[in-house]
Symmetry: C2
DNA sequence: TTGCGTGCAAAGGTTTTGCATGGCA
DNA sequence: TGCCATGCAAAACCTTTGCACGCAA
């Protein structure tokens, strides 16, 4: 029989982890460390494979920041009204800022209507300088 | 004395390569292959290091497609005119679209005022699906 | 039983780094 | 003479894959 997805213990554990961390972002490594520290380690490959499935299911978002940073995941659950968030990456300190902003969402509409381009916020990262680095006088 | 950047033969070679390839995009590997086939190979590390410098100077853009694909670079030269140019990259066909749009410029102001983040348009790329690929039904 | 899930290790690929040498200013 | 640039190889890094075994349905 082909159900496609089994309800395994690890999948349950992951779901529970997601629920407890809420909308926070995490990397595959974060997940692995978390379970390892609790004595119930999960293999890296398993985490990747489960997350990939969940991305396909649409209950997890995957953000690609840059080539040398690990991918950033976000659990969104079954929320039909979930806002995809935007990311700003500081070119100086490397800090990643997550934004849920209505005004930025307007960019998507604008790009589609005026430029016929369907924006993918999951892959789009705004580069620039964060407030702290700017204050520090970084150039 | 500290000028910061030396005018080496390799740097000149790279510049010439960029001029001849125009606005086309290229990977580090493309560059290496090109010079290798002409008998004047350049080390991979050197290409990475020079390109990194040029990105800092703002004369080259670096695009991240996804974690397992090589980074894509684009020579943009000395954009002396103060007209900020935005880029949209199609995830399907790889086409790069250049936009001069007032409304998009507003993003910079918004990010700065509301989120205290100084956007760098030269390094920011909007990822998504272009009109042609959308029409073709690509998913 | 069938087929998916898992763990481990190894492989895959891109990018960075250490170190000695060579070149620009 | 001072830096900076380069080459080579090794290292670092994230991610995927092969394979044998375990578990869900």
């Amino acid at each position: 029989m082909r159900t496609g997805i089994y309800k395994t213990r690890h999948r349950e554990d992951l779901m529970e982890y997601f629920e407890t961390t809420g909308a926070n972002h995490f990397t595959v490594n974060d997940v692995c460390e978390y379970f390892k520290s609790r004595g119930s380690a999960i293999g890296t490959a398993t985490v990747y494979r489960q997350l990939e499935k969940m991305v396909d299911e649409g209950i997890v978002n995957k953000y690609i920041i840059d080539a040398n940073s690990p991918a950033c995941f976000e659990y969104i659950g079954e929320h039909t009204h979930h806002d995809v968030c935007f990311h700003c990456k500081c070119e100086k300190c490397g800090k990643l800022i997550h934004l849920h902003c209505e005004e930025l969402k307007a960019i998507g509409s604008h790009l589609k209507q005026e430029h016929d381009f369907v924006l993918d916020p999951k892959r789009t990262v705004f580069y620039g300088i964060c407030s702290e680095c700017a204050a520090r006088g970084a150039v």
